[in-house]
C-alpha cells in the first residue's frame, strides 16, 4: 500500500525527443488511477518511468514518500501487467506466477501457498501445470494478473492489459479488475487508450496528450467539466460536437453560429469571454424534442439505430453533427430530414478557440 507522487517529471529520448513534459501527479494510497490518452501521448512511458523500466530525465518520483528515481525496478516494489502479458513461454503457469518470489529467495513452500492462493482468487487453480501456449487469451491475461498479485506489491501497474481481448471478455475482465481492486485495496496505475475502460475503472483519470498532463480528476469531473477541448473530445463516446460560434453577453449570455442559436446560463455574463468561441455539445445533450433554451438545426444524413438509442449523423452549417437520442424520441427521423435539436443551457461547453481552454464560470 503506497502513495505515489510525481513532481516535474520530464523525459527526453536521446536528448532529442521530449516525451514527457513536466508531469505533476499525486496518486493516493489505494487509489485506482487511470492514465489515458491517444497513442503516442506518453502514457506508457510515464508508466514505465514509474516502474523503473525507463529513467526519468528530470524531476522526482516518490513512492511512499521515498524518492525512487535512482532505484532499480526490483527495489521499487511495483508489479506490472503487460499488454502482451509477457508470460515466460517456457515456464508453466505456476512457475510464471512464482518467478518473482523465487527471484526474491522466498522459500519453496511459501511460494507454493502464495501461488495457490492467487490462483484460487483468479480461478486458475486447474491450469497451474500448463504452459502459456496451452491457454486461451483470457486465461493468459489472468495469469499475467496473478503474477502481479502473488507479490503483493506496493503498486500495481497495468499497461493496456485488456486491449488484446475481445469485447465481451474485456467487459468481464473490467468488472473483475474492479472487484480485485476493491478486494486488495492496492494502489493501481492503469494505462489505456480506451476511455470506456478509463471511466469505468478509475477513481481518478489523468488525461495525457503530447506529453502534457491535460487534466486529472474523477470520471465525473472529466466528463462534465473538461478542462479543455482535448479532454472534452477525448472523453465521452460518441465524441462531443464542436461548432465555431460567436459569444454575446447581452442581453442574456448566448452563442450563435450558422445553424444554431443557444442560450447560456446567466453566470457566463460575468466572464471575460472572447467573441469568437468554440461551442461543444455532447451528442446525447441534443434532443429532438423538448424545450431547450436554444436550437441547433441539423440536416440528417445517416440514422444508426442502436436499440435503446439512435445515433443521428448530419451537419450543421457545414460542420458534422452527431446526436444520440432515445429511440422512442426519434420516430420519424430519417436521412434527408431537417431536425431542430434542443440543448439545455447547462449542457453547453465553451472553449477558447486559440488555446482550447474551457471557458466556464467558477463553481459555486
Amino acid at each position: 500500500m503506497a502513495e505515489l507522487r510525481l513532481a516535474g517529471v520530464n523525459k527526453w529520448y536521446d536528448g532529442k525527443v521530449h516525451i514527457l513534459k513536466g508531469i505533476d501527479l499525486d496518486i493516493a494510497d489505494g487509489e485506482f488511477m487511470v492514465l489515458v490518452g491517444p497513442s503516442g501521448c506518453g502514457k506508457s512511458t510515464l508508466l514505465r518511468c514509474i516502474a523503473g523500466l525507463e529513467e526519468v530525465t528530470e524531476g522526482d518520483l516518490y513512492i511512499d514518500g521515498r524518492r525512487v528515481n535512482k532505484l532499480r525496478p526490483k527495489d521499487r516494489d511495483c508489479a506490472m501487467v503487460f499488454q502482451s502479458y509477457a508470460l515466460y513461454p517456457h515456464m508453466t503457469v505456476r512457475a510464471n506466477m512464482g518467478f518473482s518470489l523465487s527471484v526474491a529467495g522466498v522459500k519453496k513452500a511459501e511460494i507454493r501457498t502464495r501461488v495457490d492462493a492467487a490462483a484460487q482468487k483468479l480461478g486458475l487453480s486447474e491450469l497451474l501445470a500448463r504452459l502459456p501456449k496451452q491457454l486461451s487469451g483470457g486465461q493468459r491475461q489472468r495469469v499475467a494478473m496473478g503474477r502481479a498479485i502473488v507479490r503483493s506489491p506496493k503498486v500495481f501497474l497495468f499497461d493496456e492489459p485488456l486491449s488484446n481481448l475481445d469485447a465481451a471478455l474485456r467487459a468481464q475482465m473490467r468488472v473483475e479488475l474492479k472487484k480485485l481492486h476493491a478486494e486488495l485495496g492496492a494502489t493501481m496505475v492503469y494505462v489505456t487508450h480506451d476511455q470506456v475502460e478509463a471511466m469505468t475503472l478509475a477513481d481518478r483519470i489523468a488525461v495525457l496528450e503530447g506529453g502534457v498532463l491535460q487534466q486529472v480528476g474523477s470520471p465525473d469531473d472529466l466528463y462534465n467539466r473538461p478542462a479543455n477541448r482535448f479532454v472534452a473530445s477525448f472523453i465521452g463516446s460518441p465524441r462531443m460536437n464542436f461548432f465555431d460560434g460567436e459569444f454575446r453577453a447581452d442581453p442574456v449570455p448566448g452563442v450563435s453560429g450558422p445553424g444554431f442559436e443557444l442560450a447560456l446560463p446567466e453566470s457566463y455574463a460575468a466572464l471575460d469571454i472572447p467573441s469568437r468561441v468554440l461551442v461543444g455539445v455532447r451528442p446525447h445533450d441534443l434532443r429532438p424534442t423538448g424545450n431547450g433554451a436554444g436550437a441547433v438545426i441539423g440536416n440528417l444524413s445517416v440514422v444508426e439505430p442502436l436499440g435503446f438509442d439512435v445515433l443521428l449523423h448530419g451537419e450543421v452549417g457545414g460542420e458534422t453533427l452527431v446526436a444520440q437520442v432515445e429511440a422512442r424520441n426519434a420516430k420519424g427521423l430519417a436521412a434527408g430530414k431537417r431536425v431542430v435539436f434542443q440543448v439545455e443551457r447547462d449542457a453547453i461547453h465553451l472553449f477558447d478557440p486559440l488555446n482550447g481552454r474551457a471557458l466556464r464560470p467558477e463553481e459555486a
Binding site: A86, V103, R147
Partner: protein
C-alpha cells in the same frame, strides 16, 4: 495452397529424387573408395563399389603406436574433447556477446558487430604463423586448450551473428516482465533468454562443433605428438605430396563425417528452426 494434383506431386518427387541422386553421386564415390581395398582413385562412371572390403576402415581404426597405444582411440578422444570444448566455449562466449549486441545500446555496438564480421574476412593464409608464435608464448602449443581457444575464436563471429538475429526476435516484454519480477540482468539472461533461444544455440553449437571437428592445418601445425593429434590430422597424413592413399583417406573421411551427419540428423528439427527461425521480424 492446397494439395497439388497427384501427377504434379509425382513429378515433383521424381525431380527431387533425381536432384538428390545428383547431389549424392560424389558422396557415393567416397564410399566406393573407402570400400575398395585399392588405394587408387578410380574414375569409372559407376559410383558403386565392385568389391566390398573393410580393410581400409580396419587400417584406420586399428593403428597403434610403437608404444602400443591405440592411436585411433586417442585421436577420436582428442577430436571429441576438442570439438566439444570448442562448442561449449564458443557458445558460452558467443551467447552473452550476442545478447549484449541484441539488447543493449552502448557506444561501440555497431563497431563491435562490424568487427565480428570483419574477422571472417581475414584470409587464413596470414594467420597461421602469427598464431603459432602467440600460442607458443602462451605455452599453449601442443595442448587441447590452445587449439580449443583458436577454434572457438574462429567460430564465435558466426555464432554471434546468428544468435543476435535470433535474440532480436525474442520480445523485449519478457525481459521487462522479469525485471519487474525483480530479476537481475544475469538471471534474465540465464533463465529467460537462454531457454528461449535453444534452437539457435543448438545450431551455433553444431557449427562450432564442425569448425573444430574438420580442421587440420592449424591442428597439425600446433600439435607435436602423435597421441595428441586429432582425427583430421591423422587422416590428412594419407595425402602425400606425390600421391594419396585414397582408400584410407576416404574411409577416414567417412569416419570423420559420420558423427557430423548423425548430429545433423538428430538436430535437424532444431537446425531448421534455429538458424534464423526468428530472423523474420513480424
Amino acid at each position: 495452397m492446397g494439395r497439388p494434383s497427384l501427377l504434379k506431386a509425382i513429378l515433383l518427387n521424381l525431380a527431387l529424387m533425381g536432384f538428390c541422386a545428383a547431389v549424392l553421386y560424389p558422396v557415393l564415390w567416397v564410399i566406393k573408395m573407402a570400400l575398395t581395398p585399392s588405394q587408387a582413385f578410380a574414375l569409372s562412371a559407376s559410383p558403386f563399389p565392385e568389391t566390398v572390403s573393410w580393410l581400409n576402415f580396419q587400417e584406420i581404426v586399428g593403428q597403434t603406436s610403437p608404444a602400443g597405444e591405440w592411436l585411433f582411440g586417442h585421436w577420436l578422444f582428442n577430436s571429441v574433447v576438442t570439438a566439444l570444448a570448442t562448442t561449449v566455449l564458443g557458445v558460452a562466449l558467443a551467447t552473452p556477446a550476442a545478447y549484449a549486441f541484441s539488447r543493449f545500446v552502448f557506444p561501440g555496438r555497431k563497431l563491435g558487430m562490424n568487427l565480428f564480421l570483419v574477422t571472417q574476412m581475414f584470409p587464413g593464409v596470414v594467420m597461421a604463423i602469427p598464431l603459432y608464435i602467440l600460442l607458443n608464448h602462451l605455452q599453449l602449443l601442443n595442448s587441447m586448450l590452445g587449439l580449443t581457444l583458436v577454434y572457438a575464436t574462429t567460430a564465435i563471429p558466426f555464432c554471434v551473428w546468428m544468435l543476435k538475429g535470433y535474440f532480436d526476435t525474442i520480445p523485449k516484454d519478457l525481459e521487462e516482465a522479469a525485471v519487474m519480477d525483480g530479476a537481475g540482468s544475469l538471471r534474465i539472461f540465464l533463465t529467460i533468454i537462454l531457454p528461449l533461444a535453444r534452437p539457435a544455440i543448438v545450431v551455433t553449437a553444431l557449427f562450432s562443433f564442425m569448425t573444430a571437428w574438420n580442421e587440420f592445418i592449424l591442428a597439425a601445425t600446433f600439435l607435436g605428438r602423435e597421441t595428441a593429434f586429432t582425427l583430421p590430422v591423422a587422416l590428412q597424413r594419407y595425402v602425400g605430396d606425390y600421391s594419396t592413399a585414397w582408400g584410407y583417406f576416404a574411409a577416414g573421411a567417412i569416419l570423420v563425417s559420420l558423427p557430423v551427419m548423425a548430429l545433423f540428423f538428430l538436430l535437424q528439427r532444431h537446425l531448421v528452426g534455429g538458424l534464423t527461425a526468428g530472423g523474420v521480424k513480424g
